[in-house]
């Protein structure tokens, strides 16, 4: 009992102590309350009742997008707008009614304001109307007494001086939605825009900047007495792209009315110099919201102007795939460059007959002749000997159907069939599928961007990745030098054999792409044509004299061309797809020639920054940048 008493006694003393401490703590809180409410109360109640501190955030200007020579691709321009500060008006509805009588205010704007009112703190200004004219502003100022809580201020809006020519690369910005505001409250500020597509979306965090703030002392009715403090926001980073806008536009012009796309790359480092898609759209239309009619027009158009065909368009590569098949065969030692295959115009395998594009056959073909004539039978045989899995693996090594590091959200990877894939579908792969894969038909689907990557890798032997960012805030990004990229690791001998074949396609008598030959002294182009059927040709059609020219537009084959130049010192690589252009040799080769001629004349990768006639913009560049050109 004694020990028990000892323990109880200790507990009692200590519990009383704890209780005392609790009383003391609450007493201290009471004292603190007295201090805040009564001693300092006078000061705080002034703040609350008469002169309230009102804080306003300032939306930071969005960083600009520049091309490789410093031309502005996406910039900001002043935007006068009317804001509503809800805490400064007794009757929001009455104020908005009055406003609507002076300046036009659409119903959906009104609905949006009501929505935002419920969402935000009442001192956060809401945008009532943007893009006010001088007349609108004069009217608002004149009627200010009827419009308590309405403030006119100036912000910035996004402009795209080059309009449609870069729309698919730059993307566009749009007003943020509720999810964006939840992620970063800065988006609640009037005038904030968020990147929704293209580089604007990919680099959104870099472009965003940081909000500034003004602290204002306002009286009870909300009139500003004075500005107490101002912290300017910081503008988002300027981002310099690898694109040459001049070239980009010229390429787009050359595509004319075709539904087509072309990618031009610096073959040594993967910089994308031009990525033009036709038709295009005007990205600035998204800034203030796209109308229903405009949207329908875009989405119903067969030529799909909103789709970036270069990065997201999927096509059977056709004969442009033959280099990869040959490379796979060479590296697997399934063929040597000198092995010859007889082409009687078809290959019989099992009970199926696979036709060459030439009815009469090409006779005896080796690798060089097979490429030069684009002989289908030769590549049927190479594919048959090599097997689909080796072809697919080689395709991946050359950047096909594998994820590329391009800064374009929505870029498609493409697709390359394998045995395993077919097995997962519960079906057996048959050799016939391998044979048609040899000429880039069948299940495979690739983007023009990946084809351009493939040509770059063939031309330089380096595993370059296509990319669009040259520098961020003047800091040159990794990948601008050829040495940044690893060698692809195939035998030089194999690369040489294939390059030679591509040279013969264009420059040797009887080649399949003579129209691509350059008319430039001392410079030669190596390339490969491709025509990919978008549907199967039946035996019946073949016997009845099938001609794709007679088909409806959307059933005609796609015309493709891939090329690099100069042949002896590869610098530029390109891929071109003309949707439903029929034959690559006829529809795509001349375009490729003209585009490559333009590229070589401009030599965008060889020219120094600022050497073009750009007066309006100066881009701060770190010293020593020129050396990397």
């Amino acid at each position: 009992m004694k020990r028990e008493n000892k323990r109880t006694g200790v507990f009692t003393r200590r519990a009383l102590l704890v209780g005392g401490a609790q009383i003391a703590a609450l007493g201290a809180l009471g004292a603190k309350l007295y201090q805040v409410q009564v001693v300092e109360g006078a000061r705080y109640s002034t703040l609350a009742e008469t002169n309230r501190i009102s804080a306003r955030l300032i939306a930071p200007p969005r960083g600009r997008l520049l091309d490789r020579f410093g031309n502005v691709v996406a910039g900001n321009k002043l935007n006068w707008r009317a804001l509503l500060i809800a805490e400064q008006t007794g009757d929001v509805d009455a104020t908005l009614d009055n406003f609507a009588q002076i300046v036009e205010l659409a119903d959906h704007d009104r609905a949006r304001i009501e929505r935002e009112l419920r969402r935000h703190r009442r001192f956060i200004p809401l945008t009532v109307r943007e893009f006010l004219s001088w007349n609108d502003m004069a009217a608002i100022e004149t009627n200010a007494p009827d419009l308590p809580g309405i403030v006119v201020d100036v912000g910035t809006t996004r402009i795209y001086p080059l309009g449609p020519s870069l729309a698919h690369i730059v993307g566009y910005v749009a007003p943020p939605n509720e999810a964006d505001v939840a992620e970063d409250t800065m988006f609640a500020l009037p005038g904030m825009r968020i990147g929704r597509a293209g580089v604007e979306k990919f680099h959104d965090v870099n472009l965003r900047g940081h909000a500034g703030a003004v602290q204002l002392e306002v009286n009870a009715v909300g009139r500003v007495i004075r500005e107490l403090d101002r912290q300017e926001g910081t503008q988002g980073h300027d981002i310099q792209l690898t694109i040459d806008t001049g070239l980009q536009k010229a390429v787009l012009d050359r595509l004319g009315d075709e539904s087509a796309s072309a990618v031009v790359m610096d073959a040594r480092n993967g910089e994308v110099l031009a990525m033009s898609t036709n038709p295009s759209f005007d990205p600035s239309l998204f800034n203030s919201g796209v109308s229903q009619a405009q949207w329908l027009e875009w989405t119903k158009n067969k030529k799909a102007p909103l789709i970036n065909k270069a990065a997201s368009g999927l096509y059977a590569p056709g004969s442009t795939f033959k280099m990869v098949v040959a490379m796979a065969g060479l590296e697997a030692r399934a063929i040597s460059p000198y092995d010859s295959v007889q082409c009687p115009g078809y290959l019989d395998f099992g009970d199926r007959r696979f036709h060459c594009w030439s009815k009469y056959g090409h006779g005896s073909m080796n690798l060089r002749d097979g490429l030069k004539n684009s002989c289908d039978v030769y590549f049927f045989e190479v594919a048959r000997r090599t097997g689909i899995d080796r072809i697919a693996a080689m395709a991946n090594r050359f950047g096909l159907a594998t994820k590329l590091d391009i800064e374009l959200p929505g870029t498609r990877t493409g697709f390359m069939p394998t045995r395993e894939w077919r097995m997962k579908q519960g079906k057996a792969w048959n050799i016939g599928d391998t044979i048609v894969s040899g000429i880039g038909q069948g299940y495979m689907q690739l983007t023009p961007l990946s084809l351009a990557t493939m040509v770059s890798r063939i031309a330089t032997g380096r595993a370059v990745q296509p990319h669009l960012t040259r520098s961020v805030s003047g800091v040159l990004q990794k990948g601008a030098k050829a040495e940044d990229w690893p060698l692809i690791g195939v035998a030089d001998k194999s690369l040489h054999a294939i390059r030679e074949g591509m040279w013969a396609v264009v420059n040797e008598a009887g080649g399949s792409g003579p129209l691509a030959r350059l008319d430039m002294p001392g410079i030669q182009l190596a390339g490969k044509t491709g025509s990919a059927q978008v549907r199967n040709v039946s035996r019946e059609q073949r016997e009845n004299g099938y001609k794709s020219d007679n088909l409806a537009w959307e059933l005609r084959p796609n015309a493709l061309f891939v090329a690099y130049a100069p042949y002896d010192n590869p610098r530029y690589a390109m891929a071109l797809v003309v949707e439903h252009g029929n034959a690559g040799a006829a529809a795509a080769a001349p375009l490729a020639r003209d585009i490559m001629t333009d590229v070589l004349n401009r030599d965008p990768a060889g020219r120094r920054e600022g050497s073009q006639q750009v007066a309006s913009v100066t881009v701060p560049m770190p010293p020593g940048l020129g050396k990397n050109q």
Partner: protein
């Protein structure tokens, strides 16, 4: 010793009616008064309307009251048997919340159980109190002098504290540690050990600061210089102080608070509800509410002193301390005395699961009181 002379209650003479008779109805009344204050505050927070907060909250309180009275009738010896089960359950929930709980405001604290989001850390605090009380129930004064005896319960405190820190929820972790420490103190841990541990913590605090999350550091910086970031983390403190200060001695009158109603005051229905009340009812109202809260806390301490078994004493001490910590942290936070920590004012702030958790704790406290005189041998001291 009049208490000591009372006859220990045996099972046969202690029926349901008798138990109901033993419930401290005065204490129940105090809790109802606090809930009524909460109703009035939430009515005002909604701009003079029972929707969307007050009506829901009062229903939850009614449910909580039933729950509390039910728990009050459960034999404390049964609760004692369940102590470590509850503790294990709490730890499992804490691990679950780290694995699959969802995140709110940068921390992973919430777990969906029965369609409601729970903070397992709140349940854990009660379970920890039970477990520690069970451990020390049999500990004599001499036994408490043995440092080895103190190691297992110390681990039992550190495990949940570590898990809660990992969520991360610094405020609750500190509260849990303090509540656990109080039980060590009540159980008779020697003073020099208490001093040693407090000293060690004081030395390690600067080191720990470096390991805090950015938002936690931001809160501390903001607390030291609220004006440095008037629109970010400092906004809440400044607005809360303006609201309090403008309330003055007598307040602006019920439903007349401008700061609260003009939406200057953030989270006025949850963490900052005290501010809203003190703006409308002034210092007088604020002190009155503080007084009511103090009554409830000291009532719990009284129950601890009045209990005749060590288990009940320690449980009552822990639960009162937990309630006290809620109150102190919340009010210190809204008056700008400590960094903002996201701790609600019990029974007043809007929130269903917080209310239920508090009422579960109160139920156990009541059970201690109802069973204050039961024979609950620690198996050694009273042969």
């Amino acid at each position: 010793m009049s208490v000591g002379e009372r006859r220990l209650i045996r099972e046969a003479s202690f029926g349901l009616t008798n138990k109901l008779w033993q419930v401290s109805w005065f204490y129940v009344l105090l809790l109802c008064a606090l809930a009524a204050v909460g109703y009035a505050a939430l009515y005002s927070a909604a701009g003079g309307s029972p929707e969307p907060y007050a009506a829901k909250q009062i229903l939850r309180f009614a449910f909580g009251l039933m729950l509390m009275l039910s728990i009050a009738l459960v034999d404390i010896r049964f609760i004692a048997k369940m102590s470590w089960v509850a503790y294990a359950g709490g730890v499992v929930l804490l691990i679950l919340v780290l694995k699959m709980g969802h995140t709110g405001k940068g921390a992973q604290r919430w777990l969906d159980l029965g369609g409601m989001p729970w903070q397992p850390s709140e349940l854990m605090k009660i379970a920890l109190v039970l477990a520690l009380a069970h451990w020390f129930h049999k500990a004599s004064w001499e036994r408490m002098g043995n440092p080895l005896f103190l190691i297992p319960p110390a681990i039992a405190v550190l495990v949940p504290v570590g898990l809660i820190l990992k969520e991360p929820n610094l405020g609750t972790a500190v509260i849990t540690a303090v509540v656990g420490g109080t039980i060590f103190l009540g159980a008779g841990m020697r003073w020099w050990k208490v001093a040693l541990i407090v000293g060690l913590i004081a030395l390690c605090a600067p080191l720990a600061y470096n390991h805090l999350h950015d938002y936690q550091r931001a809160r501390i910086t903001t607390f030291l210089h609220p004006e440095s970031d008037p629109l970010g983390a400092g906004y809440n403190i400044i607005q809360s102080k303006i609201a309090l200060g403008s309330g003055g001695m007598w307040g602006k009158g019920y439903l007349q608070g401008t700061q609260g109603h003009l939406n200057f005051l953030p989270e006025k229905q949850t963490d900052f509800i005290f501010t809203m009340l003190a703006e409308e009812f002034g210092l007088v109202g604020g002190l009155a509410l503080l007084g009511l809260l103090l009554f409830i806390i000291l009532g719990g301490m009284f129950m601890a002193l009045r209990c005749r078994h060590q288990y009940g004493r320690l449980v009552a001490l822990g639960i009162s301390m937990n309630f006290f910590m809620y109150v102190v942290v919340n009010i210190a936070m809204v008056t700008g005395a400590i960094p903002v920590g996201g701790v609600p004012l019990p029974l007043v702030s809007y929130g269903g699961t917080a209310m239920i958790t508090v009422m579960i704790g109160m139920g156990i406290l009541m059970s201690v009181h109802v069973h204050r005189d039961v024979e609950f041998s620690d198996g050694r001291d009273e042969g």
